[in-house]
Symmetry: C2
Amino acid sequence: MAAEGKDVILVRTETSPEDIGGMAVAKGVVTCRGGMTSHAAVVARGMGCPCVSGAGDIRINEPKRFLEVNGTKLSEGDFISIDGFTGEVYGAKIPVRASEIVQVLNGAMKESESILYRDYKSFMGFVQDLKEMGVYTNADTPHDAQMAVAFGAEGIGLCRTEHMFFGGDRIMSIRKMILANNIVEREKALAELLPMQRSDFEEIFLALDGRPATIRLLDPPLHEFLPNDHTSRHELALQMGITVEEVAQKSSALHEFNPMLGFRGCRLAIIYPEILRMQVRAIIEAALNVKRKGVEVLPEIMIPLVGNYKEFVFTKKHALEVIETIFSEQSLKVHYKIGTMIEVPRAAITADEIAKEAAFFSFGTNDLTQLACGFSRDDAASFLGAYVNDADKQFYEYDPFATLDVNGVGKLVEMAVKLGRSANPSIKLGICGEHGGDPKTIAFCNKVGLDYVSCSPFRVPIARLAAAQAVIEARKNA
Amino acid sequence: MAAEGKDVILVRTETSPEDIGGMAVAKGVVTCRGGMTSHAAVVARGMGCPCVSGAGDIRINEPKRFLEVNGTKLSEGDFISIDGFTGEVYGAKIPVRASEIVQVLNGAMKESESILYRDYKSFMGFVQDLKEMGVYTNADTPHDAQMAVAFGAEGIGLCRTEHMFFGGDRIMSIRKMILANNIVEREKALAELLPMQRSDFEEIFLALDGRPATIRLLDPPLHEFLPNDHTSRHELALQMGITVEEVAQKSSALHEFNPMLGFRGCRLAIIYPEILRMQVRAIIEAALNVKRKGVEVLPEIMIPLVGNYKEFVFTKKHALEVIETIFSEQSLKVHYKIGTMIEVPRAAITADEIAKEAAFFSFGTNDLTQLACGFSRDDAASFLGAYVNDADKQFYEYDPFATLDVNGVGKLVEMAVKLGRSANPSIKLGICGEHGGDPKTIAFCNKVGLDYVSCSPFRVPIARLAAAQAVIEARKNA
């Protein structure tokens, strides 16, 4: 229906990376499972797309294309409206419009026509003068980056390269890379991806116009990229000249009991350094191309899921080799940084060892919360609501995936800040988990001395305000 | 074949809790996936059953009941022999015999007939005099407990109550409990389990003869107890008077993306306190019954997977209510302790808060390693071997699931010991992960001041020796 140019709301039991295409064209997303940090919520937020996740009463009949909720049946083509702030879903068409501020930023309204926008602008001027931390954005596309910059973002704190792998022909190349039987086949598939990644990064660097861009290398488990249905497997087998059984067998070999605790993050780059080498090449070649156009670039290469400083040393060595080769090939250099996410508890408690080698830390507080507390954001629904809300429990004051658990996970962050700065006083410290857009967490980040927070584009104005308020609060208490 | 009285070696791609019955009658276990802390290895070790896990070259054809390995085909009924120490699998029958020491302890040989046994006994006398830490055992059955005591175990450090749920009628009762629609149905199913659990505990207490017994409350995700195949689902539906679809639907509702990070441990007892209340009743009633027979008992109730002291306070409150009720019903009391596993990083870093309420900590270093490092023992095969063994990596000196990662996970243990003792100087501290039987880890435990280590029955003599060696080593360095 979206292909026919109609406005569509995507309703799914839950979303997976394969839904990215559908989400990109949807005007809203509803999922039956998940919470505010589920895949659907995180991706939709990044896209500025309204999303209601965890609407547990909805039952979807996918083959027959209808849903039922408390006795009401709605079929494909019926109207629904959603409110991403309140989580309400209406079985009717409700008139909506973009806020004036977004309309001005989008160019749909002139600045001179909107008093609201002019007030916003002057208020954000005070905010900018007061705040001390930088406010970056989590953006995976040039469009997101542009939007965030319009909202006042001072850089990209998290660019997830894997989201770039789902469009058009790319998914086929990444699947070939995953199913490769040897390094030759793998490098051939990677060579197909290189120009696509490079042009993505060029556009992002241009959109940032000299602001720093923290780019995370490939992070998710590889099976997330493989097709689950027979039709897609058949198509993949045809294209690769192998049998459907081989595709199924390789997919099954990649199956994991706990994908969150499996073969992902820098582990991919360590077992297959050629993946990292392609990505680093794409980043640095893009940076040089943009620099040649006279636009400043500041790439910051981020290694995900490091738990042991030796993992960082290993991946950094490969990255440096590639970078030096390109500098010498092109007789041109750019400034860059190589740093790491701090999202594994072991990394936080050995942060001094890592800081000796890393130019920056970015706290990946989604994963850090999951691992420190031992519950995943996707699987905690059966108890975490009761933990926060039940009158006889209240174990956590807020949802720990929305507001950082300062008394627990926060201790790990403080420890890593202290250990990191003790070993490397000039280390740059930030946060790129979903918490980076939460005002209470931003106050904590200001208190422990982070250099910046990073959040979804549409949360940037609130984050800037919260950063300013944190400074005022700190002065009052001083 | 085992039912015909033949000696059988169980060969499986991997084992799950449903295989416990098969493992109990097998003379050996081989799995294609997994490592030394996989389900197969842990359970087999506890049973004193030789096991080779992670024999990745074996391909099993289950329907046709044969296996293939490097071109050799072996069918059900063919002989194989295995060496659990070296991991070798032989496609032939090789003569085996129990060690003399085991033969004497089993009563198959007289003490007077074995010089080896008498040497062992006098040597272990020196060991006993030297060592300072207690050596407990991980035992889930009276037989394991007896064996461990014969090897010199001074108590049970980990009794996993869930393994008791798989035998005979019990699995049906636990399934009814899981599929219950409300608390009435759930309590009815629990009432069926109560006498079975109580009699298990009585036998274990009798086997321990006054030694402490640390009993862990229900820990694994509930879906581990549900049948996966259609036949068993059908049988369950029939017995419960519901449809197969309802069974399938409820099983599917319990599905988790990352079961290790889901609804398990004390989270079960917090959402369904009636489960905890049944288990505590079974433990305490068993203890009183055994006390009445004139045998001393020391039950230690262990709450698993605590991450927040408020979880501990909540579960302890329920346990105390049940205990006080039983004491008053029976006008008899026993000494008992209520403590917790330390296996969630958040628990280690907030150990002072927990120690104010807990009588003991037992470090569950399997889970603590998984969460601190962010990799699970079941899913790490694709990279952890390379991390330890590859000449260009060597990120960890030893497999961190076999020998405690002293530089990372060990820091969390030290932190928890220090914080725990600072808040509660009389707290009892031990370790019950697989690491508790590893000599290098035992030296670390001695150094940080644990009161005891706990390991599989057949590792008890080695653990006692290692505990004595650690003392000698510490004196040399003093």
